[in-house]
Amino acid sequence: MKLFIIEDEVPIREELSQFFEKYGFQCESSDDFHGIAQLALASGADLILLDINLPYQDGFQVCREIRQSSHVPIIVLTSRNTDFDELMSLNIGADDFVSKPYNAQVLLVRIQKLLSRASETPDSVVLTHKGLTLNLLKAEISYNGQDKKLTKNEMGILRLLMVNKGNIIPRDAIIDDLWQSEEFIDENTLNVNIVRLRKTLAEIGLPDYLETKRGLGYLV
């Protein structure tokens, strides 16, 4: 799956690319804002992320230009979070609207939704680390040919740890991540989920996959 990012702020562009590449997307972008619409179309991207404030022309114009020849899904990303912008974006053919500072996870979910609607057979989004594969659409882990289903919370915890492999993730950050997907759990529920996740991992032959760093957090 390929994303084309139209954004003139270099740090945002780079970090977005880096973020989506972790989830297995290919990302492309350009500094040439003169013919950015043509470039985006020529790249053959499956989805376009579009900022409103651009040099030469604004994002609305770019969106119109793209819409003249293509139905590729477009998500508008902007800091101008006025209702006018939102209505305008949706009116001229954008598929979704996200305002800054956006939560990258939320953005990812929206992209996945749009992509699965656009293509009949959605590619599975998978994360792999130390031989363990996590399929985000099916909520399944597999290791050495063995599959196991995970609950929504368990998958959320494992996803967060696998995306940040090698880094310690504090407990409050894990709880916060689940809150962001509207699972308002507390410390005790987290403990229960971690225990169950460990048990599932042990069942497929990875007993020490999830490490505890005392007083700091968890790590894979």
């Binding site: 740090p11 945002i12 800091s79 880094n167 310690i168 509207e182």
Partner: protein, 338 residues
């Protein structure tokens, strides 16, 4: 203008009239003029004076009464200099000219101030949007490099973001035009979105949200309402005791759906309670917990007023605080043609 007041104001002229009348009478009596003549002379004298006074009284009365009436009916009082009809008497003309000049000066200053405040507000608006870009970039960097250190930076970034948001709503609350987008949503969705914004501080103090019966449809401006609920949650976090619990529930009452947000915090003293919505009011709690600015609840009240919503607060010192937000019901809005 009353006759009595006018006469009192001209008491000196009347005294002069009486004195001159007496002198004329004395003079004519000394040269032995017949009484009939004296009477005639005195009559002429008095009639002339009284006529002059009456004419003067009538001119002034009609001018000032008109002036009062215009002032009463005028919405922009400072425009009175423009509307005034010039009076026929000299001091009125001078007064009229002064009033005109003062008014003009005042109106120029007013227009300047209005323009300044307008420009300042526009600048603030664009500044808020400018600053969101680096905040977004920094938060994306954290997202890509999560570890205990960057996550602490992320906590600070979120705080910056919520302060920036407060500036945005402060600027908006002063604006004359209402740019609210009312849409169908549920109380649960509004509460969730506020909880997500204040998730980190709430989790860090071990706080727990409790919901009951929030699956109620309401028509509201999602962003502003989430901001208001967020301010209330942030207060609950600030003024907490141990085992913070914030509970959200709802009930319907007379054309309105009420969202009840209660915490088990330190509460507000009865003396402070009526003033918590005042701008800059921090009260006892604010003095003890130095971080209060007295802006949060003030903004909530102002935004609620603009959106035709009600906000009420109840509290028992040491037991907790309850804030009730009242959303107009959909059917009621339809009947009102909104």
């Amino acid at each position: 203008m009353k006759v009595k007041d006018y006469a009192a104001d001209h008491i000196f002229s009347f005294l002069c009239l009486v004195v001159s009348g007496l002198l004329v009478f004395a003079l004519l009596w000394l040269i032995e003029t017949p009484m009939v003549f004296i009477f005639f002379v005195e009559s002429i004298l008095f009639t002339a004076f009284v006529c002059a006074f009456l004419y003067d009284y009538w001119r002034r009365r009609s001018f000032y009464n008109q002036l009062w009436e215009i002032l009463e009916r005028l919405e922009e009082k400072t425009l009175i200099g423009e509307i005034l009809v010039q009076p026929g008497f000299l001091d009125g003309q001078i007064f009229d000219e002064i009033l005109r000049r003062v008014n003009k000066y005042q109106n120029d200053r007013l227009a300047d101030a209005e323009q300044n405040s307008q420009e300042y507000q526009e600048y603030l608006d664009s500044w808020v949007h400018e600053i969101k870009t680096p905040i977004a970039a920094a938060r994306l960097i954290v997202e890509n490099h999560k570890n205990p250190t960057t996550l602490r930076i992320d906590d600070e970034l979120r705080r910056i973001d919520s302060f920036v948001e407060q500036v945005l709503y402060y600027a908006r609350s002063a604006a004359v035009e209402k740019d609210f987008k009312v849409e169908k949503t549920t109380l649960q969705a509004l509460v969730n979105s506020a909880l997500k914004t204040y998730s980190k501080p709430l989790i860090q103090v071990g706080g727990r949200p409790v919901f009951s019966g929030l699956d109620v449809p309401v028509c509201a401006d999602t962003k502003s309402c989430a901001f208001i609920i967020g301010q209330i949650i942030s207060n609950s976090i600030k003024y907490r005791t141990e085992n913070l619990q914030v509970s959200f529930s709802a009930y319907a009452k007379q054309n309105a759906v009420r969202l009840v947000i209660s915490d088990n915090g330190i509460g507000i003293s009865p003396a402070d309670l009526p003033r918590v919505f005042d701008k800059g009011f921090t009260g006892d709690n604010g003095r003890r917990y130095s971080k209060s600015t007295g802006i949060g609840l003030y903004l909530c009240k102002k935004l609620c007023n603009k959106m035709n919503m009600d906000i009420m607060i109840q509290s028992m010192l040491g037991e907790g605080t309850t804030v009730i937000l009242s959303f107009p019901m959909e059917s009621y809005l339809q009947e009102a043609g909104l």
